[in-house]
């Protein structure tokens, strides 16, 4: 019964998202897997703030895995904020960094 999907990092395929707000700067801390199943959750969180945000930071230190569906959410974010503010992706693990390099996305994000 899918009453409410538990975004628990303990489960194998889950994503825990926490959003920190500092003025018009939003930091998204992602913990777990960002894939087809979990990316709609992040998409919803991003859409919540995209109109107010002047700076968005995605902290991927605890992100184990990212799929193309996850990249799509980040692409939506960078296009959404384009012209009004900037977006930063930081603390990429090697595995996630590889995906960014492979898909060429490391060319279009500011990576710290």
């Amino acid at each position: 019964m899918a009453l409410r999907r538990k975004n628990n990092s303990n489960t194998a395929s889950g994503l825990n998202i926490s959003v920190k707000k500092n003025g018009a700067e939003y930091t998204f801390l992602l913990n777990g897997r960002l894939d087809t199943l979990t990316s709609p959750d992040l998409d919803a969180e991003v859409k919540n703030v995209i109109d107010k945000a002047e700076r968005m930071i995605f902290d991927l230190a605890k992100l184990d895995y990212i799929s193309s569906a996850g990249l799509r959410v980040l692409l939506g974010a960078v296009q959404g904020i384009d012209g009004r503010g900037d977006m930063v992706v930081r603390n990429l693990s090697q595995a996630v960094r590889d995906v960014f390099d492979l898909t060429g996305f490391s060319l279009m994000f500011t990576i710290e």
């Binding site: 019964m1 899918a2 009453l3 409410r4 194998a12 395929s13 894939d35 087809t36 799929s67 193309s68 569906a69 990249l71 799509r72 692409l75 939506g76 296009q79 390099d101 492979l102 898909t103 060429g104 996305f105 060319l107 279009m108």
Partner: protein, 505 residues
Amino acid sequence: MVKKLKDFRLYGLIFTIASTAFIMLLSTPFFMEQRLQPYLFDAGVDSLGSLICAALFYGCMNQDGDGSRSFRILIIMVSACFAVNEVVRYTGGVPQSRTIFFILCFVSKLIDLAMILVFYLYVRAVLGFDGKYTKIADIIIPIVLAIQTLILLSNIFFPVTFSVNSDGVYQDTEIFMIEQVFLAVTAVLTTIKVIMVRISINQKAAILTFIFLPIIEYILLGATFGEGSQYGIVLMSLVIMYCVIFNDRSRKLAATQTELNMATEIQTSMLPSIFPPFPNRSEFDIYASMDPAKEVGGDFYDFFMIDDDHLGMVIADVSGKGVPAALFMMSSKILINDHAIIGGTPAEILERVNKLVYENNDANMFVTVWLGILEISTGKLTSASAGHEYPMINTNGKYEILKDVHGLAIGAMPISKYRNTEVTLKKGDSIFVYTDGVAEATDAENQLFGTDRTLEALNAVPEGSSQKEVLRCVRVAVDAFVKEAPQFDDLTMLGLKYKGPAAEE
């Protein structure tokens, strides 16, 4: 907001279950105590009824749509009525508990009124009431409800419609029928509207049962206050409504499923699927396969003769899954094919395609593409990658990763630059390209199959095998690795072996 709504649903379910448990526990004295035994039947109806309420609530818990919320509230109310009625019977006829008995009778009647109101709201939401008639109904109903509530409240001070005597026995007054005015008014208004509105006859009948079943029950049994079957009948009507709605939805769902299957068929039929595809070409052996994880996927492969000496090969992966990905895949495939035939190097072709795809891309979708063009007479393979996985190439008897230069996935940015990578295939050399479904196949422990295992599988293939056999071996290795874990991503592969230029005639 969404989460709150879901919480409400969860609490609703808990409530209906708790109500059932409560009624079942309270049924015990109905077996034991002499004075309660005449009500044993009613206690049974209450238990069964509240259990059905819980089941019904669970059934429509995740439904969204017009009136589904009102419908759930109705179920909760019926469940509450069962519970209250059970206590009403338990406390009735006992002088000591006459105050609590009075309060419960009062509450029960209050819920009745609320139930009628929610029923009206439900019908209103389902039928999308509007127009003059509804405006009148929207005025009349609250007024009658207010008067009715006042009459009910006045019972606290003076027995207008009912009273509880000193023995704790419920008594109607002579004008008790005025309690039913609200029901009558709402019933008439709703019935007229339901008959007028254009909906299927099934739906009409289902909604009207809420009004007419209780009336029939009243005529047949001459309902006395607090009788168990009263709410059983109301519940029955809810069950009928649910079944009709459910039936309608299933029919729609079946239609959607058929359309999805057709989409899969169309998609699959767009990929070259007759092997060998070019029976009169002896210079190369090519094979490709695709296994979508869902009904329709976003992966594709393609190959085609650009001219007599050039073979184009494509492997691509669209972000996301399902129908949107499939639609995006279709347009990308056609664009790549067209532009490859128009001409240019793979990098030039991808640049043009990227521009076109980006212009018509509102959904932030993108597609990673590997495009290779083989010059058949020389074995020169020129390729460009738009963010796609590294090809695996076998030029010295062993498959290795070919670290080609990567451009950005197609559709991500308005202008992207790509670079060509050139290798020359000798007789017997081969290349294997794939989508992330291969390297990212995951076992039950969440481990990735990985490029290393892919290479291992490729290198374990016996020499001299056909490309079909090569792909099958990789598939077997992936399957052996993931075991019971469900296939998460599409599994798409393409293999080519160069057999050298055709012998001169």
